[in-house]
Symmetry: none
DNA sequence: AATGAATGAGATTTCATTCAT
DNA sequence: TATGAATGAAATCTCATTCAT
């Protein structure tokens, strides 16, 4: 498992409650007392383990990015064809969302702008780089269209993100893993020459 | 012009400053004093024109939805082919984003959950319905695949939303209207039989 | 009256309560709720008039310094002999302490170090300069000893400050103005050639 | 040596760091974590050796008083003339300040009001008594003026305290022991008949 | 003796909102 | 209409202290 888990049991409880509440209610509508209630710990314990509410959000976010990147290696880098890589990416995201919708949503929606003054769009940036690498590979392979890489990348991440959103909003009810194949095919249809 | 414009100059100033700040910093990080400063009006003026901060957000949001729907009629409903409707939708969104990125972002990102307790997911709901109508049309026409409508809809809205995000983040620098044709083509390639 | 008085009645109440409490209990043992209770105003009113507790202390302090300087002009600068200036200084401090022990104590004891990170020892600095000017004058006049100016200055301010402290602590019970003459004489005996 | 030194090395470290920080930043701005950092010990160690932060302050203070009193015996009580006693007091204070400015400042400035609810003005009280004894001696001897004893006492302690303050603030840079003679002479000039 | 995780009361400050003018 | 002084609930965070190890 690539997920970095916090050391102590209490730290873990704080971490999980905070992540859940941040996704459910948003960062700003989640107060420290909310986390205290949900995690069943004291205020002091939170500040003992995390220097501030903001730092708590940052740690959660960085863990999610790290988790994404290690899954990416497993599902995408290991594939040797463009189609395989697309399928890997789709499978990574959709099955991960089935398994841990909270973390995936945190990754997709924790808009740093909402939390921090300075933009550290590590999410957008890292996510984009990862997907652009797939596009580059497909173009070198000769499988993909020669259109702008960023545009093509939007056709990989865009539909996947949208599907996860629709699952979160309860509009899609079936497991996302049941539509991995179709999704992969549609993306491929869009990108292939 | 479909945009409902506030009546007085002061109300207009409040409206524009609030919308700008909500997009720039998020709803919760924008305080009434922030709006006072930016708009150069008094606290009293804000509460004279809007009953609460929440109502201010709701008015802005509803205007954006209304604006979207009237543009939808113009660009999409008027089209008589599935391809035409896709092109219309893409053109509507991308040229609108070029023209008024703030409003479009407000529409896409104002997550009601962040603002209100009760979900008034008018955005997601309305947006989804609109796009699903295109899918239905294309399937009736016999042009589109017979896959799940929601899945196909995700291939229309997903990439478009992603492109607007990338423009907002400064990763795409060219006008979005310059990629209307290619985007349309890629969506069509994904959906067509 | 040289004392700058705050504009509104409420601001005035906050100012006076804060000054009283800061002197009585010290800056750090005086909480905002303490001031709220004593002044009979709301928390919000305090923050409406003063940007922070620290600023409240700074304003009080600066007023006291300003008040000191204008009294100094009146009592000391107007005198044309060294003895007259010493008497003026002693009278200024001791009669002021009789009249407004709180302000004088604030001036003498508000150790900026207790309140702020950076030292802005305006009190010490201003006070010292004022007293050093008397010493310079007396040396030019030929009345005072030729010892180090700072040392001589310590014989003007030191006993006066000590007397005010003893009055504050309740060890001296008579009005300080009753010992102006003797105090002046003793200082003069120490400094004169 | 009259100074009661804490028994263990760790207790000593805590004691010295606390005293230094109390003087540097004031009692209230010094937190237990500050002492932990400065002394390089654990929280537990502090509470093992001292029952509370307040007790730590009290022990430091009482040590300083005790140290003062034993020095007083040595420097003042041993003298058999009023002039000798004044010189003894001045030497005691100024050379002690050169040697251990922190302790002396603690003695002079630790305003109990800042620390405790109940006044334990041991400093003011003990200090005053000591100096008043010199005045009594000088009056009995027939050397000193017949003015109020407290007033005369203020001319012994006031200038000395002021000089130490000026040294602490960096306004006096030379060693205070270099001005023992002049200071003695000036005090004597003020008090003598 | 020594540690440091855990506690929770209490501190300062913010900010949406009201209301007298 | 328009103003901004005033309110006070609620937010984040600090810190002296306890206690199991």
């Amino acid at each position: 498992m690539a997920k970095k888990t916090p050391e102590t049991e209490i730290k873990q409880k704080i971490y999980l409650s905070a992540r859940k509440l941040f996704v459910e209610k948003g960062y700003h509508r989640t107060s420290i007392p909310d986390i205290v209630k949900d995690a069943g710990v004291s205020i002091g314990a939170i500040y003992h383990h995390f220097s501030s509410k903001e730092e708590l959000a940052r740690v959660i976010h960085e863990d999610a990015v790290e988790s994404f990147l290690s899954r990416y290696q497993l599902y995408v880098d290991s594939q040797r064809t463009a189609l395989g890589k697309i399928r890997g990416f789709v499978e990574l995201m959709l099955s991960w969302a089935d398994e841990d919708l909270i973390t995936v949503n945190y990754l997709l929606h924790a808009r740093p702008k909402e939390i921090l003054d300075c933009n550290f769009t590590i999410c957008t940036a890292e996510g984009l780089e990862a997907v652009k690498k797939i596009v580059e590979f497909g173009q070198k392979e000769g499988t993909f269209k020669d259109a702008d890489q960023i545009l093509l990348a939007a056709f990989i991440s865009g539909p996947v993100m949208r599907l996860i959103e629709l699952k979160t909003d309860g509009i899609i009810t079936q497991p996302l893993s049941s539509i991995i194949d179709t999704t992969t095919q549609l993306i491929f249809d869009a990108l292939k020459k």
